[in-house]
Point group: C2
Chain length 362, copies 2
């Protein structure tokens, strides 16, 4: 059976290995210099045309990094935090341009969120949140998809060269709203190259790979007209659901920590989260915990501890049984609290500065 | 079997009667005051919600008329001339607003014409031609579909509420380019109502009725958000091909007179055109001609003779055998020459005035 991931469903691949094999992804093998936490720790695991971007970084050649905001609610999840950290990595490592677009057309055509709601939410929360999480507003260009006439023009041009069957082969299904969203995304990803053809990289969850395949196919078909350079992508593993399943799912709010989340609810959720601890303290002391199956440890590893030595010590202590599950959870709660408090502070600051953001003018 | 017309194929309905019946069109029954030539002579034969517009005219209530330019070549055909004459009728009879949009997004997504080509052609030829054929530039607002952000926003909103199956039921087929073109058209047709809800009328060939059905369905689904007033349409019969078949087809240039067309080629084509004359002069004098089957007579009736008495006299003379087919053809050539010369003169003038055209600014 052909593996198809529907990027709108929240469905998950059976495993990362299968995904890499079925779609012919390139494994991430630490080929970027001065890696960020996600790259160092194998959370970033694959991509497409990673070598092209590694070469740009090495040879100081121009490339761009681009990602989109889907403003369906007033929260973001930890997957988005990883996207932002990867954007920031490229922004700090030679990307000539950083684009973050608000996918208001996609929100309208696939989620039924009106353009006005989408824009309003993005301005009040998402854009400030992206800055609070590390993007340099001076180096980042934001735009609303619906105001970028060039993106719309590309989308309509691209649509002429895609058949319904190709669309179904990539996405598993096709409906008018999704078709339009997908070609608009391809327009976004390639739009920076209208000014100057150069490679681009899209940091995103692997469930979004269908969009990359479509955009890369389109780039080839329009190469003679636009001379498009390769479009690369880089994929991170998901932040697990609190019950230990592969990905935090918004459909069950109790299984998810969002950003922001209030501290009481946070503590409750982490206390209930899947643990790699043993049945009793006695057994735990003897056999040691299983950090690999512990959601709290995964949160520390993916998001809350920057220092590799600090993380290694916790791993060892937990694995050896010296550290109990309750101690690991308390540590996670403490670090998560600090993260949320810091986020809220930076968010407020960014919300005040929102008028100084670089918006593309059309 | 369900009748489906594909508005992009140039295929034709089996007959106008069947079309009216199958799609539940409203017959045009001379309900508009001070009719134009096409209305008086039954060339305008049907529509949707015609009574709504008749009432607006009678009660001097606001409504709008809207049509689109598809700039695929540097010629227009006689069907477009009829559209323009009907727009002009409404412009002269109380329409509060007249919109003529350049369907550059549709040209890109269904014809593979680039946005730049489409815009360039529209500015240099189509828009001046629409003015040369009678539109009042002071009363007409032009825009490029791709620059009208509101139209794109509506298109994406609308797409969320259409399924692929509905699209197939209306159009007989679905491909990404056509889907996007169709929702953009719905956006165009309803865009004038964002400012103020009022009825609108779309003059067009009956092969475009699928677009009207889609837009009218959408208008109902979004009534609660936008309070859309009814969207009416008015349909004219086709100008026949020179071989007598139902519609001038661009795929066989010898069977078509386009606007502009040089006078030599014009004369040759009309001489070769299907005639309602008899085998010999003798039989013709005795039995009389058949104006109903004569392409030259149809051209006179639809396009070249304004005065009903003048047309009636020609009809009688030809029917009685007093006028020969060659005489009818010579008269048609003479009138057609005059039309083309007049068009070229007015076109040149309009081309010079193109900077004074009302373009919607975005």
């Amino acid at each position: 059976m052909v593996t198809v991931i529907d990027p709108w469903s929240g469905d998950l691949p059976e495993s990362y290995d299968k995904l890499v094999k079925d779609f012919g992804l390139e494994l991430y093998k630490n080929q970027f210099p001065d890696e960020n936490r996600l790259m160092r720790r194998g959370v970033v695991f694959a991509g497409r045309d990673l070598k092209v971007i590694a070469k740009c970084i090495e040879e100081k050649k121009p490339y761009y990094v681009l990602s989109g905001i889907m403003p369906t609610s007033d929260k973001i999840h930890f997957g988005t935090k990883m996207v932002i950290e990867n954007i920031k990595y490229f922004q700090d490592h030679g990307a000539a341009e950083t684009y973050v677009l608000v996918a208001d057309l996609e929100a309208a055509s696939t989620r039924g969120v009106t353009i006005e709601e989408a824009q309003d939410r993005a301005l009040k929360f998402h854009i400030p949140a992206y800055i609070a999480l590390g993007l340099d507003p001076k180096k980042t260009t934001f735009y609303f998809q619906s105001q970028n006439i060039k993106v719309t023009q590309l989308a309509y041009e691209f649509a002429k060269k895609i058949t319904l069957n190709e669309f179904k082969a990539i996405y598993g299904s096709a409906d008018p709203g999704r078709i339009m969203a997908a070609v608009a995304q391809a327009g976004d990803m390639l739009f920076p190259q209208l000014k100057k053809a150069m490679p681009g990289i899209i940091p995103v969850g692997p469930d979004q790979d269908p969009h990359l395949r479509l955009a890369r196919d389109i780039a080839k078909r329009f190469k003679s007209k636009y001379n498009f350079a390769p479009l690369a992508s880089i994929y991170h593993k998901f932040t697990p659901s609190l019950d230990g399943s592969l990905k935090m799912s918004k459909s069950n709010p109790e299984s998810v920590i969002e950003i922001p989340e209030d501290l009481d609810s946070l503590a409750k959720k982490i206390k209930r989260a899947k643990s790699g601890g043993r049945e009793t303290v006695e057994i735990h002391r003897k056999k040691g915990g299983v950090p690999e199956e512990d959601v709290s440890f995964e949160l520390l590893k993916q998001h809350l501890i920057e220092d590799d030595n600090e993380l290694r010590k916790i791993y060892d202590k937990y694995k050896s049984g010296e550290m109990l599950s309750s101690e690991l959870k308390n540590l996670t709660i403490e670090k998560m609290n600090r993260f949320m408090i810091d986020f809220e502070k930076k968010l407020k600051k960014a919300q005040k500065d929102v008028e100084n953001i670089n918006f593309l003018k059309f």
